[in-house]
Amino acid sequence: MTSAVATADRAKERTPLTDEDLLLLLMIRRFEEELLRLFGAGLLNGTTHTCLGQEYVPVALRTLIGLEDFVFSNHRGHGHYLARYQDLRGLLAEIMGREGAVCNGVGGSQHILRDRYLSTGVQGQSLPVAVGVALRLKHAEPGRLVCAHIGDGTWGEGSVYEALNMAALWRLPLLVVVEHNGIAQSTPTTAQMAGTIADRVKAFGIDHHRTESTDIGEIRAELDPMIQRSREASLPLVVEFATHRVGPHSKGDDTRPPDVIERAEAHDWHRSYATAFPERFAHADERARSLVEEVVAEVQDLPPAVWTEQ
């Protein structure tokens, strides 16, 4: 309760955001909701992990991470992709296995590669790979960095520590973005993580910053100088977002008690922005909704994706 109130209070002090950011936030939200609807209606095959509640993370980062930087995403990656490319159609086609799919329907929701953006479905695997990319960037393209998104549960994997060690030893421009939503699939962080992410990171001599904010402007102001430094000094950095998973892990598999779900919803950026900028919000939401609906209608009618380069 108290925390819900606190969030509502802070909402009024939201820093303004551009129409583009607001639209992007809402587009991702609508996209994810639409996916769950399509699954429910039996129109999607396989599985998916929506980023409901966490959309603001990649949207906040997108002005700080350029197309020449590498991004490693994970299973919960639709927002990461959309914030970077605004490509509703390519992603939906990928998830539905239709023509125009960004990976020809081969990778699906969890395995996407586009230029310098890559996601994989095996937790923790990406960090050593990101270290390798950062090693190259350091030599070949100084000033550029690698941004890798992982969840809190992924800190169970040993590969994370092997990677942090090398990134620190070799002073590599690696930004690890931890979306700490307090849960891994069904397991609360308290049951899968001893100690804290902050301490684990600092133990490798790596800078760590934690933000509780869901305010795009505030987050950018906080992170900009740190990310700049990581680029300029070629140093790893871990940024931890205290965030909240508003939806199920994948689909229909949310076994959290109602009060926990409520608490997550109370922290949703969505409410805060709706309260802070009601009119702009409603307008953007309308637009996001129609954009997504259009794409859904369009993609559903496309022929199946064709895969030639096996």
């Binding site: 929701s109 395995h111 040993g158």
Partner: protein, 332 residues
């Protein structure tokens, strides 16, 4: 009873009868009960011995190895068989080696459960059948569940052998019904010509045009193919499903294979170095001169497993592939 329920009962009865048995895995406790619900209800009854773990596939198999070494029985669930890659070292270089590398036999009752296989659109890293990569590890046995083999007998038997084992569990099989009382359907019956080897046949088990060997996960497709071969092509094909894939009890299969002269192996593994290669070599050595053609391997394509349904279908072993291969091979 569904296969998943049979497996759940088997796990429950191991935990019940053996106060030293542990079950570990990611998200296996209630109310979630595991990604595929195999462990549903177990943590509520055995909260101290059914543990949800962090995401640490290598680590939890190591923990299982430690439990086994210290005198417990350990069952570890890997959420998707694909991730057993992360535990390769613990399985191959610790648990399996420990059985013999200290110069005396060390009991290691450890079962690593691996939900495997595709057909659900989970994509390239969540759909694999990695059985083949674990063949030929001294001390390690491979098993696969089937709708014929009662896991309530199989699981305790595996643990009693006290060597590390991988138990592969086809994800699509979970929702299927177990067969009972020797009846598959209106046309097909089954029996067990050897312990742990199920045989599906039409009318008389002693006559057939060919034999098809398959692991449990391929049961449905193999049965479908056997039916079609009979109904559409008048080919009588016997199906053998061994519960233990490796070491394969080849002696037990030979009496059935001997008569046929024509042997096929169907598996979902993608091409190259598959379990079928192991089966084929054993059969070739044992029945050279009695075979009309080399043991024919039927498997998925040499390809990663794509996500989109229509692409996945092109890659993965299908009933029709089995059928067509048998017909074409026998025609030649």
């Amino acid at each position: 009873m569904r296969v998943v329920d049979n497996l759940n009962l088997a796990l429950r009865s191991v935990l019940e009868r053996d106060p030293e048995a542990y079950l570990l895995g990611e998200d296996i406790v209630d109310p979630y009960g595991g990604a595929f619900k195999v462990t549903k209800g177990l943590s509520s009854t055995f909260p101290d011995r059914v543990l949800s773990t962090p995401l640490s596939e290598g680590g939890i198999v190591g923990v299982g190895g430690g439990l086994a070494l210290a005198g417990s029985r350990a069952i570890v669930e890997i959420m998707f068989a694909d991730f057993v890659a992360l535990a390769f070292d613990q399985i191959v270089n610790f648990a399996s080696k420990s059985v013999s590398m200290y110069g005396k036999r060390v009991p290691m009752p450890l079962v690593v459960r691996c939900p495997s296989g595709g057909g659900r659109g989970y994509g390239p890293t969540h759909s694999q059948s990695p059985q083949k990569h674990f063949i030929g590890v001294p001390g390690l046995s491979l098993y696969e569940i089937s709708p014929f083999h009662d896991n309530q007998a199989l699981l305790p038997a595996i643990l009693r052998r006290a060597v590390p084992a991988l138990l592969f569990e086809d994800k699509l099989l979970y929702g299927r019904q177990m067969y009972t009382e020797g009846v598959v359907d209106d046309l097909l019956q089954y029996d067990f010509p050897a312990p742990d080897v199920a045989r599906v046949f039409v009318e008389t088990p002693d006559e057939c045009d060919c034999v098809l060997i398959a692991p449990g996960g391929v049961s449905q497709r193999a049965i479908g193919a056997v039916r079609r071969l009979l109904l559409e092509h008048e080919i009588s094909c016997q199906l053998l499903i061994p519960a233990r894939l490796y070491p394969l009890p080849i002696e037990a299969l030979l009496p059935v294979l001997r008569g046929a002269g024509s042997v096929f192996v169907a598996e979902e593994s993608v091409a190259g170095g598959t379990w079928g290669h192991e089966v084929a070599q054993l059969v070739h050595r044992a029945l050279w001169g009695e075979l009309r053609h080399p043991v024919t391997l039927i498997h998925s394509q040499d390809s990663i497993i794509p996500t989109a349904g229509h692409l996945e279908e092109q890659v993965l072993l299908q009933e029709t592939t089995i059928c067509r291969t048998v017909v074409e091979t026998l025609r030649d």
